[in-house]
């Protein structure tokens, strides 16, 4: 490839056939760089496929099977239990939801919460869809490259991605927790400002009733 490039540069210097050499040189230059571009892209592709795919495929298979064995019902019960307290509502609950139902069905667990907490739960859950891909890529396998893109760069430097992954995951939990609380407060503020306090008090009563009737 390099030889070709050098030849392409040398060609115009020859006295005879300068024009044809020039034209040929341009084509050679184009040809070299055209195919070179795709060769570079191809080697990137090979890196990604050999570096990420094998582990990812067996991990995904294992996790899909595991979620089937654990069963949705058991997780549903745990999630309902988590929804009762503010500490777990924006930490354990969105994580369990994502691990069990994956993106985007995880947001459907919002149905176990009173209306006023639903936006905060959604915000919390959706903000975890990328930190979760560090160790549980199956939970959002369609959007792996937010994490893998950065991680790939770290790998190419020859460093381990595990410390970074661990921190991304843990900071992710902290961030979704804070985000949940901030959004919950802002939702309450919006309810008051748009004069919907009565409507939402009504929703709360309906939710309590539904819960009571479920128990009975």
């Amino acid at each position: 490839m390099q030889v070709l490039a050098v030849m392409a540069q040398q060609q115009p210097a020859q006295p005879e056939g300068e024009t044809s050499g020039g034209v040929l040189g341009v084509f050679e230059w184009l040809g070299t760089h055209f195919i070179g571009l795709f060769e570079e892209a191809g080697s990137q592709f090979v890196d990604l496929v050999t570096g990420i795919l094998p582990t990812l495929i067996v991990l995904l298979t294992f996790m899909y099977a595991l979620t089937t064995f654990v069963g949705e019902e058991r997780v549903t019960r745990a999630v309902q239990w988590c929804g009762r307290w503010w500490i777990t509502r924006y930490s354990v609950m969105p994580i369990l939801a994502l691990l069990m139902l994956t993106n985007p069905m995880a947001y459907s667990f919002g149905r176990f919460l009173p209306e006023r907490y639903k936006p905060a739960f959604y915000d919390s859950a959706v903000s975890f869809v990328h930190p979760v891909t560090t160790f549980f890529p199956y939970a959002n396998a369609g959007e792996l490259f937010v994490w893998f893109g950065i991680a790939n760069g770290v790998t190419q430097l020859g460093e381990s991605t595990v410390p970074l992954a661990l921190r991304y995951f843990l900071v992710g939990i902290l961030v979704i927790f804070i985000r949940g609380i901030v959004t919950e407060k802002l939702t309450a503020f919006m309810i008051k400002r748009t004069g919907r306090s009565e409507v939402f008090a009504d929703f709360d009563r309906q939710f309590e009733q539904a819960k009571a009737s479920e128990k009975a």
């Binding site: 571009l37 795709f38 060769e39 892209a41 191809g42 080697s43 990604l48 795919l53 990812l56 495929i57 995904l60 298979t61 996790m63 899909y64 099977a65 089937t68 985007p104 069905m105 947001y107 459907s108 919002g110 149905r111 209306e115 639903k118 936006p119 905060a120 959604y122 915000d123 959706v126 869809v129 990328h130 396998a141 369609g142 959007e143 490259f145 937010v146 994490w147 893998f148 893109g149 950065i150 790939n152 760069g153 770290v154 190419q156 430097l157 970074l164 921190r167 843990l170 900071v171 902290l174 804070i178 985000r179 959004t183 802002l186 939702t187 503020f189 919006m190 748009t194 919907r196 929703f203």
Partner: protein, 375 residues
């Protein structure tokens, strides 16, 4: 799974059967977790009065429930032979490739209690109109709309339709008299047969053990199938596209040029704060969100900057949060709808989420920056 249960099952079925004349309802069977197919609408009529349970070890509860709800009779396909044209639906437990296609091939709607999917030599007969899998008790519900039932009911029309459809595709379902009869098919199955209760008890143990192993293997197989499906349809296409992008950026030297522009911004906390704030602006965040396409591309590009050393590794963590302040902002109403939120909640929730991001997105960068010391 004892003989006793089977008997009770039959009694229940007969009990319901008497009510058939007055009350026959349609039943909708949807696919369960990891299952296949959009679902079947089942209904019994004068001719079709049997739900065939080909699961081994008596009548499967799912078969019993379908029978109860349609007003049909549940029969054990291992002990009894039923003419094809009397079968409302067949309930099977197969995630493999053999038995799964036997009943669809005969034009009989098939309900698989395992997460099976079309495969094997009979794959072409396993169509959306005839097959649904991973069905549990909760997936069997009384159908609300009778209109659907008329079209999808397993009356003669369905199998005729399947036959003509088959001819079109070249394979063709053979005409009824050429197809293997129920007894012929039943004969090929490992039947305990009416050889006495002792024999049944022994077979039940084996069937129970076999079912457990089968269930395990089938779940793993279904998980593998799901993974490969996702790899082919989502992950590999994205890798192809990302590789092309990276190839262009690396080869043309744009990467280095970008590095010169980006590294002063991305390698100091204030630059990252600015990025995180901009992407979280309420009028930008819903536009930047879809499919995380932008975050993924920027993530990959930032990764390439880290690889060439333009961006120090300790900024990787805050960068991950800075480029992703908009995550899910495009999806708020849909996500809330998935959680069965009321319209009022969507009305107050959407602005709450968007405004919250302007606060929490820069905050996340600060936390991530603080957490990345010692990397």
């Amino acid at each position: 799974m004892t003989d006793h249960e089977t008997t009770t099952g039959r009694e229940t079925a007969t009990g319901t059967d008497t009510a058939t004349g007055t009350e026959t309802s349609t039943v909708f069977v949807r696919a369960g977790a990891g299952g296949w197919g959009p679902g079947l609408t089942l209904r019994s009529d004068e001719q079709r009065t049997k739900v065939l349970s080909v699961t081994g070890g008596g009548i499967h509860p799912v078969a019993q429930k379908i029978a109860d709800l349609t007003g049909a009779e549940a029969v054990d396909g291992f002990n009894t032979t039923v003419p094809d044209d009397e079968v409302v639906a067949a309930v099977i437990n197969c995630g493999g490739t053999a038995r799964i296609g036997v009943y669809p091939r005969k034009g009989i709607p098939t309900v698989d209690v395992y997460p099976g999917a079309p495969g094997g030599p009979l794959a072409k007969y396993i169509t959306e109109e005839l097959f649904v899998s991973a069905v549990g008790m909760n997936e069997v519900t009384r159908s609300t709309s009778d209109g659907d039932a008329a079209g999808a009911a397993p009356a003669g029309g369905t199998s005729d339709g399947a036959m003509s459809g088959g001819r079109d595709s070249g394979g063709g379902v053979p005409p009824r008299d050429e197809r293997p009869s129920a007894s012929a098919v039943a004969a090929t199955l490992p039947v305990g047969g009416p050889l006495g209760k002792a024999f049944n008890a022994v077979t039940n143990v084996f069937v129970g053990f076999g079912s457990a192993v089968g269930s395990f293997v089938n779940t793993m197989l279904a998980a593998g199938r799901q993974t490969i499906d996702l790899t082919l349809k989502t992950i590999l296409p994205f890798m192809a596209y990302v590789s092309l992008l990276l190839g262009i950026v690396m080869y043309t030297g744009v990467a280095e040029w970008m590095g010169q522009v980006l590294s002063p911004i991305a390698s100091n906390p204030f630059g990252l704060l600015a990025i995180s704030f901009v992407v979280a602006l309420p009028f930008l965040s819903p536009v930047l969100g879809p499919g995380a396409a932008i975050a993924q591309v920027v993530g990959t590009l930032m990764g390439s900057q880290i690889a060439i050393g333009a961006l120090p590794v300790q900024y990787a963590l805050p960068t991950l949060f800075a480029i992703n302040g908009q995550v899910g902002c495009d999806f708020v109403p849909v996500g809330l709808a998935l959680g069965e939120a009321k319209p009022e909640t969507v009305a107050v929730g959407t602005p709450a989420v968007l405004i919250s991001r302007m606060i929490t997105s820069p905050l996340a960068v600060v936390i991530a920056w603080a957490a990345s010391f010692g990397l």
